[in-house]
Amino acid sequence: MRSAQRFFTRWQNWVGLFLVLIFVVAAIAAPLLSPPDPKHPGPMKIIGRATLLQPQPPSQAAPLGTLSNQASVYHALIWGSRSALLFGLSVTLISAIIGTIIGMISAYFGGFVNSFFMRLTDALLSFPIIAAIVLVQQLISIALYNGGIRIYTQGSVLVLPSGDFLFDPKDFPGMMNFLLDLDPVLVALLLLSWMPYARIMNTMVLRIKKTEYVEAARAVGARHFRIIFKHLLPNAITPTFVLAARDIAGMVILQATFVFIGFGKGAPWATVLVYGRDWIYSQGGIFTYWWVFLPVTLALIAFGIGWNLIGDGLNDALNPRSQ
């Protein structure tokens, strides 16, 4: 309770909560704030004629202007906050759960188990995400190629063993469609984000498991499962909250970065920047077409600042010594 009090007395934490709340509201109310195009649902809503080829300034139909493909920036901004929150929360939650379980169980059993898992954790910490993305993408490509799928810029084709072609993705086998839609960035981040959680949980549990109340629980014959989840987990979990809050921002920023350099899928905010990139460096200075990059840039920065403020606030509230 003391730490909750400490958390709510600092104005920075209120700013963080407020920023995050804006994105949560935008994500939940997205269909109301910017109704999707019934024919083409998705974060890119085409306004007007696509033959215009130039970003159009803000108008009634597109409150924040359009990109060069005439997609509404406002629409992508609103629906982008939904996908950013979903991506950040789900990747962080899954990697936190994996890391917590690995760190906790290896520390609880100790000895050989612990040194094996912590060696593995340290080894994976030296594995850069970008190499994992490349590998995952290559595994996908090889599986697709061996399944007869050929990918061209205009779309993909399934070559049947008989020599016939299938052009409609609806006719492809389900596995091939799954692989075509699979985001290598998502897979790589899920595989390589759990290590910090494992390390933190490991040190915490190693410290706690020697305390008297755990010894007492063991003495009265509590099972491993009960000791781990009833006694160790609640007492060791708090430091992971700090990491998780910062990770939600970190994951979204990483995803946006990789989408921007062409390594990922999804992430409407970064997609807007991909379309807008060439219009930033226009002759009249960078603010001639300000709407192609400023709204999403500010959204990304605000998203990062919001979650990082919450993370710092949690850190200060949970270990007051660091203030």
Binding site: A123, I142, I305, D312, S322
Partner: protein, 354 residues
Amino acid sequence: MLSFLRHLGKRFLSILLTLFITTALLYATVMLTPAETRAELYMPKNFSPRMTEAQYQAMLERNIERYHLNAPYPVQYFYWITNLVQGSWGYSPTLQEDVLTAITRRAPATVEVILFSILVYLPLGLISGVIAGSKQHKFSDRSFRTSAFIATSLPPFILAILMMAFFYIDLHWFAPERISSAYSIFIKSDEFRQVTGFLTIDGLLNGRPDISLDALRHLAMPVITLAVAQWAILGRITRASLVEELHLDYVTAARARGVPESRIVWTHMFRNVVSPAFSSSMISAASLLTGVFVVEIIFNYPGVSFIALRSMNNIPDAPAALGFAIFSVFMVLLLMAILDLIQYGMDPRIREKA
């Protein structure tokens, strides 16, 4: 000296172990692919792309037989790792050359970016963190904390876009890519001796400081983009560990003895806060390398990231992807080892522990 050697040996063993674990995991993922794909990993260096389909298939069959690609995992891993150590990393169909050659040719450019960003962020992060921590709650501390906070929340690629707009398009101070086109032909010619592969140093060695300056002008944006993020992380950790030290007995004792405050901070405490800072830098070495490849791609800088870029094109090319992954892990471990040695030199406590 003996303790240094022991420390070095320990480090070396731990690096070998990490390399073993990561390569074993890498080969385990390769095992998901059919044997024909794995056979491509053993294509010879002088492989000629002008082969008929039948000849190519026959070659794959031969490789499957020769390297036991239908045998259990440990056997295959053994053959693969021996081949790797001997320097045959396979032939890449998309790069149309031997993977190891392709990597080593581009490696100096990448290493140059890493080197310069470390030279920028390491001293800056340590010094600003120590200053901020020792002037807790004063103006310099507040301004450091605010700017470091903004730097950690700001996505690096957005910083890159803004720098391109201001420093390249508007002011013409810096430029993307690696060297101006006026120099690029001269550099590839025989007149220009490639000694280190780093254009900044080779320019000086060839008596052409203008080339070094031009290389620096092109390095500036990638290095600043990388250094800003890393500086913020390092500075915040240095500051936090300095603040924790402020109330320890040895600091109070030194103050009571009348040791000047600056001497307490910079000689007594500095060595103690170096260790946590370096440990954090070592842990984030992998993310630094990811950052290096990302800024290379954004600024069109011709480094090893080119191989990653080509591997993303939906064309199966297992040798290039694997080579890229191994090179990345190797670079991260090298970086960690270098940071470890610097830390060893600066923190006397580690020397006694070893």
